[in-house]
Symmetry: C2
Subunit: 398 residues, 2 copies
């Protein structure tokens, strides 16, 4: 049912998935369950046609063959009925194509940039992802940590959150966060400050870009990292959308660090998702006199979250065995032989010691500057290149 990793999907399947993402709320498990055994186009057709009792066709019949029947016919019926009311919201294929031309990448499960770790979300896996930015999401998330926390961050949280993110990014790890005010912003800014890769997962569409006050930050993230949303570009955020979004942050990364969080905080919700996904949950301690650290302390005491105080503690916990010890001079995460031809040509244009500017690299590789920058981003995330004063240089392997 899903194309094997790397093959582009059929255009109709891509459009159908995009259309379905307008019908179901993010994380709708009925949509996820149905898509496990029904082609997106077929499911879209069933919703559009409003054919009598689509549940019996979609869920009842198929699910008795395949996996366990998690969705009963009445549940599927009600879901289809709900989705039908939203059909007027679905944009024509030309609108989706226009978004793609203006820099929003639609990525579907099975495509090259789809991060396969999202499959751990089961039926709550996003139907599609919208991306914007120069980094390749799948490569960027190979070595990634999510750093989240309170919007109402204290001076302490701001200070340690920025420092921790910078240190983690400085070790070649991607920092994932939610683009909110407070700790999220510190996490992104810390990574950007050291020329590291950072990924922001928004609860709004990417062109809506919530919160508006972070327009500049989102611009900086998309220049070297990548912005992610499972909502169509212009979608405004909804209150439940923030909590649902948190599962994507937790699933994309190898582990989640909570820097500051009150006892009831969205960051605790992200930690819960990470916990349920069997990803390490970490928390930064703080003064017990600060309400903004109370959630972190509770995570440590009640949930067994690891008490982390520096990047090394974090990386030791999330790195593949033996990786952390080898330090920055580790082997690349993706062997050079497995790179696509364009990326391989960009890598060949990068020299070892002195480094070269991205424009020179683009010229030597025979690609345009945007392509070169995007390739360099994924080469950096994969451990092949690193930034230097001159621009980029090849990394010494172990």
């Amino acid at each position: 049912m899903t194309a094997s990793q790397g093959e582009p999907l059929d255009a109709h399947d891509r459009y159908s998935r995009a259309a379905l993402s307008f019908l179901a709320d993010p994380g709708d498990p009925v949509m996820g369950a149905l898509l496990r055994s029904v082609q997106p186009m077929e499911l879209l057709a069933a919703v559009i046609s409003g054919r009598p009792n689509p549940g019996s066709t979609l869920a009842g019949d198929r699910f008795s063959d395949g996996g366990p029947a998690l969705v009963t016919a009445p549940v599927a019926d009600r879901a289809v009925e709900r989705w039908r009311t939203r059909l007027p919201d679905v944009p024509p294929a030309s609108r989706v194509a226009a978004w793609e031309r203006s820099g929003y990448r639609l990525v579907c499960p099975g495509e090259a940039e789809w991060p396969t770790q999202l499959d751990d979300l089961g039926d709550a896996r996003p139907v599609v992802l919208w991306l914007r930015g120069s980094a390749d999401l799948r490569f960027a998330c190979l070595r990634s940590v999510s750093i989240v926390g309170s919007r109402a961050a204290t001076a302490y949280g701001t200070h340690v959150g920025t420092g921790l993110a910078a240190e983690i990014a400085g070790h070649g790890w991607t920092v994932i966060s939610g683009g909110a005010y407070g700790i999220d912003a510190c996490a992104h800014r810390g990574a950007l400050a050291v020329g590291g890769c950072t990924v922001t997962v928004l609860a709004s569409g990417l062109s809506f870009g919530y919160p508006k006050g972070h327009d500049e930050l989102f611009g900086a993230i998309s220049r070297t990292g990548v912005m992610v949303s499972e909502c169509p570009p212009e979608r405004a955020p909804t209150r439940p959308g923030f909590l649902v979004r948190n599962r994507v942050i937790a699933a994309l990364s190898r582990g989640t660090v909570v820097v500051e969080a009150a006892l009831r905080s969205g960051a605790i919700n992200t930690a819960r998702h990470a916990h349920e996904l069997n990803r390490p949950v970490m928390a930064v301690p703080g003064p017990i006199t600060s309400e903004q650290s109370a959630g972190c302390h509770e995570l440590i005491r009640e949930w067994g979250a690891t008490c982390v105080t520096r990047a090394r503690d974090v990386i030791e916990l999330v790195a593949p065995l033996g990786d952390a010890e080898r330090g920055p001079d580790r082997e690349p995460a993706v062997p050079a032989d497995d790179l696509d031809p364009v990326t391989a040509s960009v890598l060949q244009a990068v020299v070892r010691r002195t480094g070269r500017g991205p424009a020179t690299i683009a010229t030597l590789a025979g690609v345009d500057l945007d392509t070169a920058l995007r390739s360099l981003g994924l080469l950096a995330a994969a451990g092949h290149v690193e930034r230097c004063e001159q621009g980029w240089r090849a990394r010494q392997a172990g």
Copy 2:
């Protein structure tokens, strides 16, 4: 070999133990091992007489009958040789009696005030304890927590250490600490501030009272709590003596809380003793930017110490099952029927609601004021009485 709990020892045995405590360093495991099978008087006689090969008599013969022969004859020989050189330091029985008359209580294993939990120290159990103060040590330690930390405490540590100790003492728990500057002093002062019971375990003798700057604090502790040392009253502290003393703090209490500690700190050593004694180890988190919290965070991360942020966290961990839930209205730890006649008469003089001053209570009980205060201290530790504005009142049972 040991009198059953509560029986006074023979005067010769008491003097012999006091004398042996002048010969061996605190915690000397050879002394502890020999005392497991040899009467104190006999061991003292062997050291004094310098009889040839005392090891063969003391260790070789006896230990083959009893427990495992932890002390070989040559080890015992060398220890006895070492102790012989200190014989000139041993004071005459009249000097020991003079100390006792001036308020220093000599307590030996098996006597009524000996805290039996010290037996968990095995061969490192103190040979004797010297006490000074109105509280009964064994009663005071029935519900006790040690709160320790850095001498170089920060304003944060001082604040939270004092508050935590006050809250714990306010719940009727005794606070044990080491009388040092910094966190130790906060722990004692916090307990004193709420009229709670506090026990200080010094590395020096009690009349030496190290550090000198704490003369006033030690005076306050002995008025309502108790001072403890395994060294004779006038002994100056030695550098290794502080670390050896820490095992007594850990063993006396039901659990140890580290409030602030650098990575290399005596408080970490106390925590290690608590860990080895299977007592809960707890640590208060703090800013990761503070070196004085680094030891606490390491205890939490590497040792599995519990991250505690308030008295309830601590008491939940150390209280007998079901005790913490019942709160302050719990049953007394020692039933009224098991009290000695003097203490029982003091308890009868205390009324329930309004409370009475200690002088009135002393008159009604027919005892002097000091005796009344000491009895009230142990009655408070055992959960029978509590302080109130008028002085003391009887506690409502569960």
